[in-house]
């Protein structure tokens, strides 16, 4: 019990803006700090319309230099979609996590493919499995499932109604 309480206090202490969150706030972006992850990585929630600007700033700024985007994750919550971007600064040897909430009924967000080339395929995968549309993406097509597949399987309300799923009938 005492260990849990200790963890709780340390996590609560992390909700004050970290260095990168204060950097973003100084530049005039709406950014709010979230609890740090267990390894002390800073987590920042940003507005979806600012995402490309924020990522460009974090990549190009001399004090940050987050030149590597190594993961894009989409999460299906009951009332929203959440996108999680993992960034790595090779210069500082630090990680950074950006989170962004988007509308459940019309999931759209700007593509990061112009900033990080690796975002191209990551965003295609997120589009394929969760159906989140990325604006200004060079080629937003399915990457893991056949091109004419129906639906997006990792959504919680997914119904298996594709013709090919007759393979599964028992």
């Amino acid at each position: 019990m005492s260990e849990l309480e200790q963890n709780k206090t340390t996590n609560d202490a992390g909700t004050t803006p970290g260095i990168f969150c204060s950097l973003l706030i100084d530049k005039g972006y709406k950014a709010s700090p979230l609890k740090n992850s267990k390894d002390g990585t800073e987590i920042i929630q940003v507005q979806p319309e600012n995402l490309v600007d924020v990522a460009t700033l974090l990549k190009m700024h001399k004090e940050a230099q987050f030149i590597l985007l190594y993961s894009i994750t989409g999460v299906d919550y009951p009332d929203k979609f959440e996108l999680i971007y993992h960034l790595q600064s090779v210069k500082l040897n630090k990680k950074l996590i950006l989170k962004s909430h988007i509308d459940k009924n019309n999931p759209e967000i700007d593509s990061l493919a112009q900033v990080f080339a690796t975002a191209n395929w990551h965003e295609r995968e997120t589009y394929d499995l969760l159906g989140i549309k990325f604006n200004n993406h060079p080629d937003l097509s399915r990457i893991l499932l056949p091109n004419d597949w129906k639906g997006h399987p990792l959504r919680k309300d997914y119904v298996m109604d594709d013709e090919r799923l007759v393979w599964n009938e028992r």
Binding site: L145, P146, D148, D162, R164, W167
Partner: protein, 205 residues
């Protein structure tokens, strides 16, 4: 006449069964075991199969090493159709035999490669050891040695693909109406949902 054909069969089958050229086709982790089998320690060359061909036009055997997804299925059928007769398929690993651990709930995995193309040798395991793959190749050699050129038509009839190819440009492959698709295990018997829930929660069995 029969004696002559038997003699020809013997020489012909001896030649081709000792020089099975597999196609380089590895869709997931079973491919690592296949590579290991072809490397020095297990040495598939002892059985004449060391020449992994990178084109289906020169291959006799397709070792479907790994999970086959719906995205990959049209490519697999196309590769199989491009192989020259006589051609053989070895379903390697649990995923290629029944769908393996993706059998129950997966949306993307074809439940066994035998729903797409006819399979000559089934090799279970997750993944099978290289010795098991060598054993499967020996089984295939035994099967090839008892074939005769008199039953050529029968062979061709039983080696047709088991799907309907789409007439337009779509990628949808559906089971052939006339050819039977075999179900076994959970797919044939089904399972009791309540029992499954109990098992998952640790109460039952």
């Amino acid at each position: 006449m029969k004696i002559i054909i038997t003699a020809i069969d013997f020489v012909y089958n001896w030649g081709r069964s000792n020089s099975i050229w597999p196609l380089t086709f590895a869709t997931s982790c079973c491919g690592i075991e296949m590579i290991s089998t072809s490397a020095a320690k297990f040495d598939i060359a002892r059985f004449g199969s060391e020449v992994f061909r990178a084109t289906p036009r020169q291959a006799d055997l397709m070792i479907t090493a790994g999970t086959v997804t719906h995205r990959m299925a049209p490519a697999l059928v196309k590769l199989y159709e491009q192989m020259p007769e006589p051609k053989y398929v070895l379903a390697m690993g649990a995923c290629a035999v029944t769908g393996g651990m993706y059998e129950n709930d997966s949306y993307s995995v074809v439940r066994g490669v035998d729903r797409l193309v006819p399979v000559d040798v089934y090799l279970p395991g997750c993944p099978p050891r290289p010795e098991a793959l060598l054993d499967a190749i020996i089984q295939l050699q035994k099967k090839m040695r008892i074939e005769t050129i008199l039953e050529r038509k029968k062979y061709i009839e039983s080696h047709k693909i088991r799907v309907k190819l789409p007439e337009d440009d779509s990628e949808i492959l559906l089971p052939h109406d006339e050819l039977e698709v075999y179900h076994w295990g959970v797919q044939a018997d089904g399972y009791n949902l309540n029992e499954l829930e109990l098992t998952r929660s640790g109460i039952g069995r």
